[in-house]
Amino acid sequence: MDAFSAVLQGLPMTLLLTVSAFVIGIVGAVPLAVGLSSPNAVLRLVCRLFVDLVRGVPIIVWLFLLKFGIQIGTFKFNPVGAAIVGLGVVSIAYLAEIYRGGLESVPRGQNEAADALGLARSTTFYRVLVPQAFRIVSPSIATYLTGLLKDSSIASTIIVAEMVFQSQSFARQHPTVEGILPYVLVGILYIVLSLPVAYLSRSLDARMRKAVYA
């Protein structure tokens, strides 16, 4: 087998990890972001501690803890499960912080106008604040997604057969100059994969700008 086919074998797993963790993060970060800016001090503190704890520990440590540190009855994480849960929880923490920043940068007058009109809290949140916050944070979310794509390679350390793992096994079997080839190829593949995300983010941003100011 040549180096390129070896690396490509890991592509579906890389995509699975990235997309699953991203979806978990995008959805799970919403309640956490609300908690981070809650008027309830206890709730705010709990959410803040969660975010700082998750972000304060390297992803590789979380993956090892999930893979080898958790046994409830007969339940143990398999490598892929541990990687998805680990990357997903980390994504929740990072994206919640991004959301919170976005919500806080919506001018205060928007909230006041909605209050004065008598709109319900949830209507104000979902129809007035979130659409404006989303516009503000969409570039940051895209940046996070490209970062997550690359961070999914950490799953190779707990024996998840994604692209970097496949590169390593190929290299191990070809201890010559050829052994460096899969690493070059995998590097190029990561770049190629992140291009559409950056492109999509830019065109989405431009379209939203046009929608608002046209």
């Binding site: 007058g109 928007q110 009109l117 008598g118 709109l119 659409p131 100011y213």
Partner: protein, 261 residues
């Protein structure tokens, strides 16, 4: 049809509002010191005074955007005591009786002019989209901006945005309108379009409370002039009488500063 007829379908029930002993402070810093104000139905009250007097805060206390520490608000059969727990029904009644226009317009930038006016009607009054859109178009036409219906606020001038904001508030059939320095962020010339709409609204008999630095508007349009300074009302009464013969030294000093500029 007049502005408020369009807003209400028929003439609004005229409502006044009574504010009794309103006080508000931030920590040790007093901003409103035991202020009472009785606004008769269908009248225009102009609230003037030096900056820092507490005019805007007082206005924002009326619809509870600021929560007074104590006092009583009586409006449309509801008695609200902001120092105590306010039940949701009273708050909803207050907010639906009282409309507000802000200095910085505060239109929703991600919605077209039409949707800015239509969306709150659907959410707050439960009107159908068709009905709300129709009402919004009528009001836009009345403030001279029908051609802006599908534009987003970012594409409208300040004066146009403020007129859209007035239409948005009117669409919810308020019986009382609060204006918080509605022309202060506008060029003098552009401010005139907004003042013209407000004048028309006053002629229709809308109950209005206007915080303003527009002395001519205060003199010509308002029924009652209220002068605030140092967190209190220091003088109130007929606008022409106060402007020509203020009783308080502080009023005299303020009026001289604004009128002789």
């Amino acid at each position: 049809m007049t502005l408020s007829e369009i807003a209400n379908g028929k003439l609004a029930p005229r409502t006044g509002i009574k504010l009794e002993n309103i006080s508000k402070s931030y920590g040790n810093h007093v901003v409103i010191d035991d202020v009472s104000l009785d606004v008769e139905p269908g009248t225009v009250t102009a609230l003037i005074g030096p900056s820092g007097a507490g005019k805007s805060t007082f206005l924002r206390c009326i619809n509870l955007l600021e929560r007074p520490d104590s006092g009583t608000i009586r409006v449309a059969g509801h008695t609200i005591e902001p120092g105590k727990v306010i039940n949701a029904k009273d708050l909803a009644a207050l907010r639906s009786t009282v409309g507000m226009v802000f200095q910085s317009f505060n239109l929703f930038p991600h919605m077209s002019a039409l949707k800015n006016i239509s969306f709150p009607q659907q959410k707050v009054l439960g009107r159908s989209k068709e009905e709300a859109d129709e009402r919004a178009l009528q009001l836009l036409e009345r403030v001279g901006l029908k051609d802006k219906a599908n534009q987003h606020p970012g594409r409208c001038s300040g004066g146009q945005q403020q007129r859209i904001a007035i239409a948005r508030a009117l669409a919810l059939d308020p019986s009382i309108m609060l204006f918080d320095e509605p022309t202060s962020a506008l060029d003098p010339e552009v401010g005139l379009e907004v003042l013209a709409v407000m004048r028309e609204l006053a002629d229709d008999g809308m109950t209005m409370i206007v915080v303003t630095h527009e002395m001519q508007f205060a003199r010509d349009v308002s029924d009652t002039l209220v002068v605030m300074a140092d967190c209190k009302i220091i003088e109130q009464g007929d606008p022409k009488a106060i402007m020509s013969d203020p009783q308080e030294a502080r009023t005299r000093r303020f009026l001289r500063a604004v009128l002789e500029r």
